[in-house]
Amino acid sequence: MQDTLDTLRTLFITKLKLKISPEEIKEETPIFGAEGLDLDSIDILELIVGIKKEFGVEIADRKIAEKVFITIGSIVQYIESNR
C-alpha cells in the first residue's frame, strides 16, 4: 500500500511536473478542484498511461476513470485491487 502510494506520488510529480513535495500528496487529496490538485482531462490521460506503464493496471474507459480519479487514496485502492 505504502509502496504504491510512494510510486504514485513520484508519478504525479514527474509526469505532471507538480511544484509540490511528495509529502503534500496525501491519500485524502482530491484530484480535481482548487482545493485539490486541480487536474484536467489531459493530466488524467497522462496518469492513466503512467499507471499502465508503471503498474500494468489498465483504466480502460471513462466511467471507470470517473470512479478512480477522486482522491489519491481511491487511485491507490484501484491499483492494489487490479494489479
Partner: protein, 141 residues
C-alpha cells in the same frame, strides 16, 4: 515486405506539401501502422531550413509520426484528429535528403476522444526518433 495500398487522401485531411507519408507498408486496423517517408532534396522545407546543410526538421518527423498515428484513427466518426500532446520525444540522429524514414506507430491506450500512440522513426534500421504521441478526435458537429 508486403507493401499495401491505402488511399492516404481519403484517410488523412492533409495534402501537399504537408502530407508527410509517401506509403503505408503495414497496417493492422486500430493497432499498428508502418509508413514510409522518402526525404528528398526537393522538399519545400529544406529550401529554408538549414539550406547550407540539409536536415529534415525534427518537428516534421513528429508530424509524420502524428499523421501515421492518425491513420489508425481513420474510420472513427469524426472530423479528424488533432495533435494534443507529445511526450518523451527524442531525436537520435539527423535525417537528410536521400534517407528513407520508416515510421512505426502503435496504439498504446485509447480513451475516446484521446488516443495515445508509441511511435518511432528509423533510417536503415537505425533509430532516428521516438515519441509518445497523443491525438484527439474532433467530434462531428
Amino acid at each position: 515486405m508486403n507493401e499495401i495500398t491505402i488511399p492516404l487522401n481519403t484517410r488523412l485531411p492533409h495534402s501537399y506539401p504537408f502530407l508527410l507519408i509517401d506509403r503505408v507498408v503495414e497496417f493492422e486496423a486500430g493497432k499498428r501502422v508502418v509508413c514510409v517517408k522518402n526525404v528528398s532534396c526537393n522538399e519545400d522545407v529544406l529550401q529554408s531550413y538549414h539550406p547550407e546543410n540539409s536536415i529534415f526538421p525534427s518537428v516534421y518527423i513528429i508530424e509524420a509520426m502524428a499523421q501515421s498515428s492518425g491513420l489508425l484513427m481513420a474510420g472513427e466518426k469524426a472530423e479528424g484528429g488533432f495533435l494534443t500532446m507529445i511526450r518523451d520525444a527524442k531525436f537520435h540522429r539527423t535525417v537528410q535528403p536521400g534517407d528513407r524514414l520508416m515510421i512505426t506507430s502503435s496504439l498504446f491506450h485509447k480513451m475516446s476522444p484521446l488516443y495515445v500512440f508509441e511511435a518511432k522513426a528509423t533510417v536503415n534500421d537505425h533509430l532516428a526518433a521516438e515519441a509518445e504521441i497523443t491525438l484527439a478526435l474532433a467530434e462531428t458537429p
